[in-house]
């Protein structure tokens, strides 16, 4: 019972921190359009669109822009709680509807890439760290270093030139031609591949480091003295311990990976959240931009919370000393 209690205290403290982070993010989104020079109505609904003065006045009243800041913030929070992220005059729809439409695709392809990337990253990184004096171990880690220090959009641009423009193996835009599973797979292969490779490269580097430092501890030596085969020491003993710091790091990295995924989407013109953000930037469509940012923040915070629960479940040490 006690470990369970301590676990819940640990999660509760984390939860408070995450709510603070989310509060700051909401505050940022709230303050930016109102503090910037220029008409706040234009900052809130987006530029490059024509609105009659009458519409502007109704909007000003609806958004409460004439009332003091704290009242505006209360109004804004109430809107947020009703999942009302504003209305995009460019796309002629509520931002929350547009986002709900797009987020599924982005999550689908990021999810697949995370699974592939984590599995290959953990496998290769553990092997590379365990047999670190071999030539292929240093080859893998140098490759991982090169890939992880290239911005993902550059990786995808290069892959696009080679595989799409030059060789013509893959289609160059969209999620599908006809809504059919084969067509979707054909369109998604290259983006998923690039994101997985990028993801795996970062995991390889982290995993290699942790396995290297676990390897010099006493317990693998003891296991070896018992005559347990090397492969089993790696899989049964070292890898279990090395994965724990990886989980926290993956979660912290999630924001970075998510933005990488958005850039890959832009390059491949996939109609997910990344292209939505790109179009919003080009059109100065601020409601969509802030809405996307809020949704990304929510995803990142959820990922971190899941990682906390996972590390609590996998690592008995966090349960006894929160």
């Amino acid at each position: 019972m006690r470990p369970f209690l301590q676990g819940s205290i640990f999660l509760f403290r984390k939860l408070i921190r995450y709510s603070c982070s989310f509060g700051i993010i909401v505050l940022l989104v709230f303050l930016l359009p109102r503090m910037m020079p220029g008409d706040p109505v234009a900052n809130l609904v987006g530029e490059d669109i024509y609105l009659t003065d009458e519409t502007k006045e109704t909007l000003r009243a609806a958004l409460g822009l004439d009332s003091p800041l704290h009242e505006q913030f209360v109004l804004y929070s109430i809107h947020l709680l009703h999942l009302d992220l504003g209305y995009s005059y460019h796309m002629h729809g509520a931002v929350s509807d547009i986002l709900a439409d797009r987020a599924g695709w982005t999550l689908l392809y990021i999810g697949i890439s995370i699974i592939i990337g984590t599995c290959t990253g953990i496998y290769l990184g553990a092997r590379a760290g365990f047999e670190h004096e071999t030539w292929w171990s240093s080859l893998i880690s140098s490759l991982a270093l090169i890939i992880s220090s290239t911005p993902p959009y550059l990786l995808s641009l290069i892959a696009m030139v080679i595989f799409v423009y030059h060789l013509g193996w893959f289609p160059f835009k969209g999620f599908y031609d006809t809504f059919h599973i084969l067509s979707i797979i054909h369109h998604l292969t290259l983006p998923v591949l690039i994101l997985s490779v990028f993801y795996a490269a970062r995991n390889v580097l982290i995993m290699r480091g942790t396995v290297l430092s676990e390897k010099i501890q006493l317990y693998p030596l003891f296991a070896r003295s018992l005559g347990i085969p090397e492969r089993r020491i790696l899989i049964r003993h070292i890898r279990k311990n090395a994965i724990i710091p990886l989980i926290a790091l993956i979660a912290l990295d999630f924001g970075f990976l998510f933005s990488g995924a958005l850039f890959i989407e832009i390059v491949f013109s996939l109609n997910g959240m990344g292209s939505l953000m790109y179009d919003a930037i080009l059109n100065r469509d601020y409601p969509v931009l802030t809405g996307t940012f809020l949704v990304i923040a929510i995803f990142v915070i959820c990922a971190n919370f899941i990682a906390d629960i996972l590390s609590l479940a996998l690592d008995p040490r966090t349960r006894s000393h929160p």
């Binding site: 921190r17 995450y18 603070c20 982070s21 700051i24 993010i25 940022l28 989104v29 930016l32 359009p33 910037m36 900052n43 270093l145 090169i146 220090s149 290239t150 911005p151 959009y153 550059l154 641009l157 290069i158 696009m160 030139v161 423009y165 030059h166 430092s213 010099i216 912290l252 924001g255 970075f256 998510f258 933005s259 958005l262 850039f263 832009i266 390059v267 953000m277 790109y278 919003a280 930037i281 080009l282 100065r284 601020y286 931009l289 802030t290 996307t292 940012f293 990304i296 923040a297 990142v300 915070i301 971190n304």
Partner: protein
């Protein structure tokens, strides 16, 4: 000289760090003296979309600018953003880290709370959002990048400061009545710089990547010809679809090589540090 360069040990690290230093020095020279190195003046225009030849080693872009000249001038901007944003975040991170590790108590709780809270905020989307409203010049960009990337430095510095602040030499300095300020400057910072340096390198790399990503979205200063901007121009003005590799490949390689060199140097210090700890 850069402190710590003297313990470069080629037998242990191989010749890769030396190569990184050479690459960075070359880039630094290019960034400092672009006028002497670039073949043409920055605003001189020629026929657009020219293939590489002897007059234009890397051809010309859609506006008729010589690509090699653009590349040389872009070095200064990319490096400036990287180093200054890295420097700013190093300053904030080290200051907060040392304060919270040295003073402990409620200061520590508060600073670490703030650190944890900012750590979660997704950086690149936040920068995109801010940049979309502010339309930044180079210094605002540096400010935003620096302000959003200090937390990992702060954490590492704090851990290290806590570890050494009970050591004998700090204790004796305290007993002798030295003020905290001089203990921090004269005793703590010289000991923890091997932890700070790799973090500095990694934040430089991070800032350069963020800058390249932002200019790819067209969100950095439109007058600022950085490597990322060149790639973005090639992407939006048909350099990729025409497979004009001489247009998009050089800036790509420049970004990759400089980020790689900086990261690799940082990792060298990191492995050093681990070895010291395990000894």
């Amino acid at each position: 000289m850069i402190p710590g360069l003297s313990n470069l040990n080629f037998r242990r690290h191989g010749y890769v760090p030396l190569l990184c230093i050479i690459v960075l020095t070359l880039l630094l020279i290019i960034a400092l003296f672009p006028e002497q190195i670039a073949p043409y003046a920055q605003n001189k225009r020629f026929l657009p979309y020219m293939d590489p030849d002897n007059a234009h080693l890397l051809g010309t872009d859609d506006m008729g600018y010589d690509i090699l000249t653009l590349l040389v001038y872009a070095t200064r901007i990319s490096l400036t953003i990287g180093f200054f944003a890295g420097g700013l975040s190093l300053l904030i991170g080290t200051a907060t880290g040392i304060l919270s590790g040295y003073l402990r108590g409620w200061v520590d709780d508060m600073i670490m709370g703030i650190t944890d809270i900012t750590l979660i905020i997704p950086k690149i989307p936040a920068i995109i959002l801010i940049a979309a409203y502010v339309r930044p010049g180079i210094w605002i960009l540096i400010l935003v990048l620096g302000l959003l990337s200090w937390e990992t430095t702060a954490r590492v510095v704090r851990a290290k400061t806590m570890q050494i602040s009970n050591a004998g030499f700090i204790m004796s300095a305290r007993c002798l009545g030295f003020p905290s300020r001089s203990i921090i400057i004269q005793e703590i910072i010289p000991v923890i710089y091997p932890v700070i340096l790799p973090k500095f390198m990694l934040t430089i790399a991070g800032a350069m990547i963020s800058e390249a990503s932002l200019s790819f979205l067209g969100l950095s200063d439109p007058m600022m010809e950085s490597w990322g901007k060149m790639i973005s121009d090639a992407f939006t003005h048909g350099g990729f679809i025409r497979e004009m590799w001489w247009w998009f490949l050089p800036p790509t390689l420049c970004i990759c090589i400089s980020v790689l060199a900086v990261t690799r140097l940082g990792m060298m210090y990191e492995t050093d540090e681990q070895e010291i700890v395990s000894e």
